[in-house]
Symmetry: C2
Subunit: 123 residues, 2 copies
Amino acid sequence: LQLAPTIELDPLRLRLWTLDARVAEPAVLTDAPRLRAVLRAAAERGGATILGEEFCEFGNGAVTGVLVLAQSHLSIHTWPERALANVDLLSCGSIDGEAIVFEVAERIGAEQTRVTCRARTVW
Amino acid sequence: LQLAPTIELDPLRLRLWTLDARVAEPAVLTDAPRLRAVLRAAAERGGATILGEEFCEFGNGAVTGVLVLAQSHLSIHTWPERALANVDLLSCGSIDGEAIVFEVAERIGAEQTRVTCRARTVW
């Protein structure tokens, strides 16, 4: 038995993961230090290297946070009035995007989720 | 003639735009100050409010930059060795995401592009 050699169409392994989550306890969505810790723990869980970060808090308690990674970026935006969080991970290389997204979902107490992943276009 | 009232399924107007672009002149992809100016000009072109930013430069000249917006975020990651840039815009509210994405594409001299837009899940 001979198997054809596999062809790596995208050696950069560029993937865009998205998570839309409705959480059980909206208090987490207005807690910027906790969300920062959640993103950092999730990034590390997936083997990513954190290079920088930017967080903002809004008047209604909503939080936006972005980690710049050596392997692209991980962001969260929260909508406490809807118990909603949107998480985006653009990943490249060998980090485990699925582990990162699921770690965030678990740590924010997601009870309803929509997760997508797609390859980005590389020429 | 009576028309049914329109139903706004997502009053947040949450949209995820992506742009994968191959550029004519890769020199722009290693020029962090220029990319910062491109993102800021594009965000303003689409009516977004810039709240913060984080930029990193890599050893091979690649640049990662993120603007935190009052209406979510705008990011760029460049791959100069492939003349490639990946741009992501998560947008909410009344900003013009299409204008932002196309402004970035034009200002970096994109000659091949793949643009996508999809609504995020809101409960």
